[in-house]
């Protein structure tokens, strides 16, 4: 099994890649880790005439701290995010999420920019990016813009990225004090993709009440979303089991749940509620007040 013919181009810089995108127009696709695109090309679900490989661009790889933010280059592999000392200590939710993606080999090739651009409804990163309110930087020939996570995911495998744009980095505010988090997913046994995945982030105030609650859910609907009904039902409250359960019951509110051979829409919605409850409980249990 191999892809239809195409011309391969390795870009040495973002500028060069942008030039190639301009030159080849709609016939070109960016190639990062290739772990979503190459399988699709083998199945001939995608047949681009030109591949612009951005995987080797140094400026797109790595993790840096900048003006109080943590910035991750678009072509940084999942394994590097999962193993980074900075991410593990200051943005643990993202490290946990990256470590839950696929298997070692997938994490050694797949990249954060590729995962977000591809925006598979069962991908893990989008849940954490939503919960962490990540900011996505897009560059094109005419400049750069930053898109908030909530505006980035548009629909099934559709994002705010416009033709000719490259996702160059994602930036995050580090976790604050008295914050607990976890990423929990019901794995699809063959691939490891999330049937449903829940990223939960809770900050308690000094009295032990929930000051800030963020819940990102993937797998349930056509795109990852923030479960704002859950968040507001818990904010300001004491994190007691009953209260958490009542809040988590809103996890699937207003979502048109997907159905496939792995799970019916009803089962997915139930998984979302159960995993939201568990994720919130687990996140809160790790907070040291």
């Amino acid at each position: 099994m191999f892809p239809a013919r195409f011309q391969y181009h390795r870009a040495g810089s973002v500028k060069e890649a942008l030039g190639m995108l301009q030159q080849f127009g709609d016939d070109a696709k960016l190639l990062s880790g290739g772990h979503s695109l190459l399988p699709m090309m083998k199945l001939r679900l995608a047949q681009p005439a030109h591949l612009v490989d951005i995987g080797g661009i140094n400026d797109l790889v790595g993790i840096r701290e900048e003006g109080g933010k943590i910035v991750i280059g678009g072509a940084t592999i999942h394994d590097q995010v999962a193993g980074s000392a900075v991410i593990r200590s200051k943005l643990g939710l993202l490290a946990e999420c990256a470590a839950a993606i696929g298997d070692i080999q997938v994490r050694n090739r797949g990249t954060i920019g590729g995962s977000l651009a591809h925006s598979d409804p069962a991908a893990d990163y989008p849940a954490a990016i939503q919960a962490l309110e990540g900011e996505i930087r897009l560059e094109s020939g005419s400049g750069a813009r930053t898109v908030k996570a909530n505006d980035f995911f548009v629909d099934l495998m559709t994002t705010a990225i416009k033709p000719g744009e490259i996702l160059t980095s994602v930036s995050f505010t580090p976790h604050t004090a008295r914050t607990g988090y976890t990423y929990l997913k019901h794995r699809q046994p063959a691939s490891g993709f999330a049937v449903v995945g829940v990223a939960a982030l809770v900050t308690l105030d000094t009295k032990g009440n929930c000051e800030r609650v963020r819940v990102g859910i993937t797998g349930l609907g056509p795109k990852a979303f923030r479960a704002t009904a859950v968040e507001s039902a818990l904010t300001g409250k004491k994190p007691e089991a009953a209260t958490i359960g009542q809040a988590a019951a809103h996890a699937a509110d207003g979502i048109d749940a997907l159905a496939d051979i792995h799970a019916s829409a009803e089962f997915r919605a139930e998984l979302a509620r159960v995993y939201t409850r568990r994720a919130l409980q687990q996140a809160i249990s790790t907070i040291k007040v």
Binding site: M1, G34, L38, D79, V106, G192
Partner: protein
């Protein structure tokens, strides 16, 4: 296009089709047929090789993407006629039956032990997530990786 890479310590350079997958390059051009093709869909891990020291599924990497890389295949594990500890582990602990999955298992185990010299059974099971074996039921594979881990730690102590 022309690709140049170092495979098991030897550099080679060939003219290939842009769409050629690394696994086909290794097997058909470099004639290293130890790397197996199983599912061709990135799921079974039989095609696992090390690319710049990291385990990757070579059915889901273009030869072009590996241009300039260091590749290690199962043929590169043994040194001077001596089995690598992971190979010895599979031999001693009966870590295979038909052997189809074995090259991929060996390469994955090499990556795992380079990050974690003392993995627990749970660590090993978790690491084997992307490698399927239809024969052994995995238990002997886990024993084999544990054997290799012990051997490699022992050797490290001796040389330290």
């Amino acid at each position: 296009m022309r690709v140049t890479m170092t495979i098991n310590g030897q550099q080679r350079s060939d003219e290939v089709e842009d769409r050629m997958l690394l696994v086909h390059y290794l097997r058909e051009v470099a004639q290293l047929t130890g790397t197996h093709v199983g599912c061709e869909t990135s799921l079974c891990g039989a095609c696992t090789v090390l690319m710049n020291g990291k385990a990757v599924k070579s059915c889901t990497v273009l030869a072009a993407q590996a241009d300039g890389a260091q590749i290690t295949t199962v043929e590169g594990l043994a040194k001077d006629g001596e089995l690598h500890p992971v190979q010895e582990g599979f031999w001693e602990e009966h870590g295979l039956q038909c052997g189809f999955c074995t090259p991929g298992m060996l390469m994955l185990a090499t990556d795992l032990l380079s990050r974690n010299p003392d993995p627990s059974e749970a660590d090993i099971r978790h690491a084997l997530d992307g490698n399927l074996c239809r024969c052994t039921g995995y238990q002997h594979i886990i024993n084999a990786v544990q054997y290799a881990a012990r051997k490699m730690r022992g050797d490290a102590r001796k040389s330290a």
